[in-house]
Symmetry: C2
Subunit: 406 residues, 2 copies
Amino acid sequence: MNSCETTPLSDPFVSQKTHAPYAPGALDGLTFALKDNIDVAREVTGYGSPGWKDAHAAEPVAHAICMEQLLGAGATFKGKTISDELAYSLLGVNAFYGTPANPKAPDRIPGGSSSGSASAVAGKQVDFALGTDTGGSVRVPAANCGIWGYRPSHGAISVSGVLPLAPSYDTVGIMARTGEVLEKVMGVLLAEEGQGPTAPPTVCFVDDVFQLAGGQMAEALAPFQRKIAEMCRTQTATLSEITASHVNWRWLFENLGYLLSIEIWNSFGAWVTHDKPRLSPGAAAGLHGYAEASDRKDIQCRLTFRKTFQRQLNDFLSGGNILCFPTTVDPAPRLDEITPAFYEGDYVPRSMGVNAISSLSRAPQITMPVADIQGVPVGLSFMAGYGQDTTLMGICNLLYSRCGGH
Amino acid sequence: MNSCETTPLSDPFVSQKTHAPYAPGALDGLTFALKDNIDVAREVTGYGSPGWKDAHAAEPVAHAICMEQLLGAGATFKGKTISDELAYSLLGVNAFYGTPANPKAPDRIPGGSSSGSASAVAGKQVDFALGTDTGGSVRVPAANCGIWGYRPSHGAISVSGVLPLAPSYDTVGIMARTGEVLEKVMGVLLAEEGQGPTAPPTVCFVDDVFQLAGGQMAEALAPFQRKIAEMCRTQTATLSEITASHVNWRWLFENLGYLLSIEIWNSFGAWVTHDKPRLSPGAAAGLHGYAEASDRKDIQCRLTFRKTFQRQLNDFLSGGNILCFPTTVDPAPRLDEITPAFYEGDYVPRSMGVNAISSLSRAPQITMPVADIQGVPVGLSFMAGYGQDTTLMGICNLLYSRCGGH
């Protein structure tokens, strides 16, 4: 990888073949785009990778289930958007297709891997877009581009017709400029719904994530936090206190990183090994690194940690608690910061560590655009118990309207 | 399809390259097999289909996650077992690889699609085996072959390294001869765990499923039911009463059949259309039928029905209720019954309709071998709320030991 990969700033679309809605419905008048790892009939699904596209050149004969649901509900399809190469990065930088613009902060990366979807929504080219979120790939670009982003409860939106990355963590997520549009689209796509909380929620500020973000970020988010505290019951606790264990962001990053890497190697290993496809140096190094660096015999130990974390966190959330924390602990880096040295730094571990809270626990998360740091958008996230997606959406819309969102 | 597809009665293995355990653990001394849609490193995953195998000849470079978990826990791998072609049938009949023997009822089909796994366990060639269950493919062969079978809560066992069929419904399930072995393997594989019920369970006999089974089946299961009633609180209710809606087995079959067919077409459509692979006449007709017969614009309507059913059923189960019903409503058909006319009959719709209760609701189900009809094994199933797999297992082992299982 080198910094030239971040230029030129690209149009967020890889193709713009449109599809009209099948019938009127809840999404009448709304337009949308899909990340290029979601099948659209008669268009090769490119996965942000020319190597993948060459090796998987058979056009899908059918739309992904989520695409059918949206067309059936009255929405108009406007095209497919750039994905990070093989959907595995949080930066939004693609060596082959370019880096989609961050419309609200043009000198910053958009974030990825649903970079084109975030860019198209923030730039008002569509009303909403779908991305995929395995380790933060909807939440991070939504926060960076100043829009709403939603990662559903794992399994609650069909991934049929969506290319797999790490199936135990893969989800289809939604991005929109307003909570109202997000809520409508969620209502169409959710195929699963659990029980809402039985008591009014308490918003729990996750203290160590706010501490990790520190200075400017904490200052930018503080006014919104104060308004939340005025209108509902709040508490402040660390991840360790919430889960009654010794968990922290670095532990979350290391475990999610390991668990993703072994599942990604199951998804791509045979293809990479036998086909030797064209990959960017960064992707090639990353993929081969999975094979060499990870001792797969650690799986059981890591999964046991995960199971414990998931149970402890869901115990806390099932009582009606909502977590609140910064979506990313750093504002989007500048484009000119993305040099080889950047990949050695702490940005990705810090981002992934925070995003791992819901990736590991399977619980839903919504990021809202509530603030900026000198014009650079930052997001505030809310998380509810597994299956409480609709309840969480209602709470987010209420908080946003009452607390005067950005 | 024709009846010659059921002969010859085959060995249940497609390959017998063994793997030693990595380390001692909870599964010390136990041997296992995997269905041939689960990756084993350096063996092409055949999916019960020569056409698939030809088109996907790159050997996996890594074991599926579930295989790693088992080797890491002390179990010894004995080989890969026959799957129905592309894992989509409940019969256990494979035109290319033969029909694995049903060791307990040699003139009967083993059931599928995890036919070889069930056969190998029932025939004591291994202590347990993994299969996959999308619409009943672990539960039906387990019941037919007189062993225990478990379909987990959807998403609770990793499907990474397992070929996808219909991702919203796909699970990796376990078969064993005893509940004790099943419980040990479940403890190793479960990567997710929800909350158990807060009150002692009530066993609810699903009246319309018992009625559908009728005569001989009801008579065979009645003694075990009576013993359950002696030791815990029971009730009897129809699916309509349980869900406060107008649901019945035919509705469940039609909805699951539709929803599976559209996801299966997403999984196989491009390959079948572009590669024109070698398929049995039955599989070819089935797959092309999906493309032609299903109006994909019905998706939203069907998913809305499903969401309602899932919520209503989980509301009932979350209070600590356990459902109990026959795993299949017919004993395993005789091998000589599997003629072209058989495929036009009611056997598959009836089986799928009953298996759809947990496939559609994502809740866990365990079938126990508690009875036979003139020597032909039949299974009794128990179902708990989503995520209550461990609790359900404990209840099943308790009921089986107290009620004197077969």
